[in-house]
């Protein structure tokens, strides 16, 4: 997801791309929708017989994909949905990071004879990496929050393929009224998230320097 966002941000910050602000808003728009609306929308897109993706696949002669019924695929369908929604968000953040890089550095690199790929690799990325770190940490934390989409679409099924910790906690607490189990799961999850975030920051911080 972040790698797509990086490419999009580069694309939208490239001086030759036209209509930049228009595309920026179009890419950002899904971020403003509620997860429930998105889940409901995708339930029709992923429909086995009448969903648009399967109909397109079918017309090219491919077999239908059980986006929401096949336990091996359901999780990827959820991930795809998430990418669709969140990529624009990270793109905007990354563009903000790009715009913070002073133009003079590019001019200097140009004078020194660096071509545009070299300028991207050796000027943009080192200065951009703190912002990339931010997006990676944010998306990690948010991926743990995955609740509404798998819950609304699939209730964690088929056969627990899309059971996330959030759904587990919800089911334990409000489905079977086992608040203790739910709290224990939540606590363990919180520790994992904190540990992951800290490691990520430390690891990336070393790379940034």
């Amino acid at each position: 997801m972040i790698s797509i966002a990086i490419l999009l941000a580069l694309l939208l910050n490239y001086p030759l791309t036209k209509l930049k602000s228009f595309f920026r808003s179009v890419y950002f728009l899904p971020v403003t929708f509620s997860l429930v609306s998105i889940a409901l929308t995708f339930s029709i897109i992923y429909h086995l017989d009448y969903g648009i993706i399967n109909m397109i696949l079918n017309s090219f002669g491919f077999t239908k994909i059980g986006w929401l019924v096949d336990p091996d695929i359901a999780l990827y369908s959820i991930i795809l949905m998430r990418i669709w929604r969140a990529t624009g968000y990270y793109t905007i953040i990354l563009i903000a990071g790009l715009q913070g890089i002073p133009q003079e550095l590019y001019d200097v690199a140009k004078v020194d004879g660096a071509n545009s790929l070299q300028r991207t690799l050796h000027v943009t990325f080192p200065l951009w990496s703190p912002m990339i770190l931010v997006t990676v940490v944010m998306s990690t934390i948010w991926s743990f929050q995955l609740f509404a989409e798998p819950w609304v679409l699939l209730r964690g099924g088929p056969s627990d393929a899309t059971l996330t910790t959030a759904i587990y906690i919800y089911q334990q607490a409000f489905g079977s009224m086992r608040f203790g189990d739910a709290s224990a799961a939540a606590f363990i999850n919180a520790i994992i998230i904190i540990a992951l975030t800290v490691t990520q920051i430390k690891y990336m911080a070393r790379k940034v320097r």
Partner: protein
């Protein structure tokens, strides 16, 4: 050069089409009879456009009530949130008191903890208060949102302290200083905070799901999710296209708001994060 920029334009346009396709499908689907959706042809425009889905939604379900609930909750949430968050932001940025920085740190750290981690204790607390199934439960506990406070603080730090000092010397109380000097200066960020809070409340799902148990108290996302999975709630059955009509009604205000206040929107949803870590 011209050639290159055309290629980039085409690439951006293709991505834009992919990104907006689901939205388009929803909006078009809401005007399409259910039979056309479940037919083996791809429909780009409905052959027989209809308002039946909207009529069903408004008269056969409790959607109007959910809409009113959502509007009421989101507006209260936003107004109270602006008051609390701007005051807290002012205190954190321009007042000096013991433990200020560590309090701020704890608040920021709490943002890293996903909401479902704290859903159980929050539920127990609100249940003891007797607030489950009331509007209070959705508005009061969450309207002082750390992210909004963070945005406010960040922006208020750009207000020069000299202005505040001079107003104090002129005899303003602390509240007057805040209300008459600081607030007008930070008006742009208030817009961003308002939008953040409104969207946050409008789109919230997990907490309303846990806290609202009567169907009359549902918010729009809750109600739509319920209609979308009618096998569990057979009382209110409508075609799926009517659910799409509901989705359209719930995303159109946000789209219009986004179109008219794009800058505040993007600042509200990303600005703080960008400045905060970077």
């Amino acid at each position: 050069m011209k050639h290159e920029s055309n290629i980039l334009l085409v690439i951006s346009a293709i991505i834009a089409i992919i990104i907006s396709a689901p939205t388009y499908i929803t909006i078009v689907g809401s005007f399409t009879p259910i039979g056309e959706i479940y037919s083996p042809h791809i429909t780009f425009l409905p052959k027989t456009p209809t308002l039946k889905n909207y009529i069903d939604l408004l008269f056969l379900t409790s959607f109007p009530m959910w809409l009113l609930n959502s509007i009421f909750v989101a507006l209260c949430f936003t107004v109270l949130g602006i008051i609390f968050c701007s005051m807290a932001g002012y205190a954190f940025s321009r007042l000096r008191f013991r433990g200020r920085d560590s309090m701020f740190f704890i608040m920021i750290a709490s943002m890293a903890i996903p909401e479902f981690i704290t859903v159980v204790p929050n539920f127990i607390l609100l249940n003891k208060l007797g607030w489950v199934n009331t509007y209070f439960a959705l508005i009061i506990p969450f309207c002082a949102h750390p992210f909004a406070i963070f945005l406010a603080k960040q922006y208020m730090e750009t207000v020069p302290p000299d202005i505040l000092d001079s107003s104090r010397i002129d005899g303003c109380t602390e509240f007057q200083t805040f209300y008459k000097i600081v607030l007008p200066i930070v008006r742009p960020v208030i817009g961003a905070i308002a939008i953040f809070l409104f969207v946050h409340s409008w789109n919230a799902y997990l907490y309303p799901l846990v806290l609202m148990q009567d169907m009359e108290m549902f918010t729009v996302p809750l109600g739509l999710a319920m209609l979308g999975s009618t096998m569990e709630y057979p009382q209110q059955t409508v075609d799926f296209t009517a659910v799409l009509a509901g989705v359209t009604i719930s995303i159109v205000p946000i789209m219009l708001l986004f179109a008219s206040m794009q800058k505040e929107f993007i600042a509200g949803l990303t600005g703080g994060a960008v400045k905060g870590y970077g």
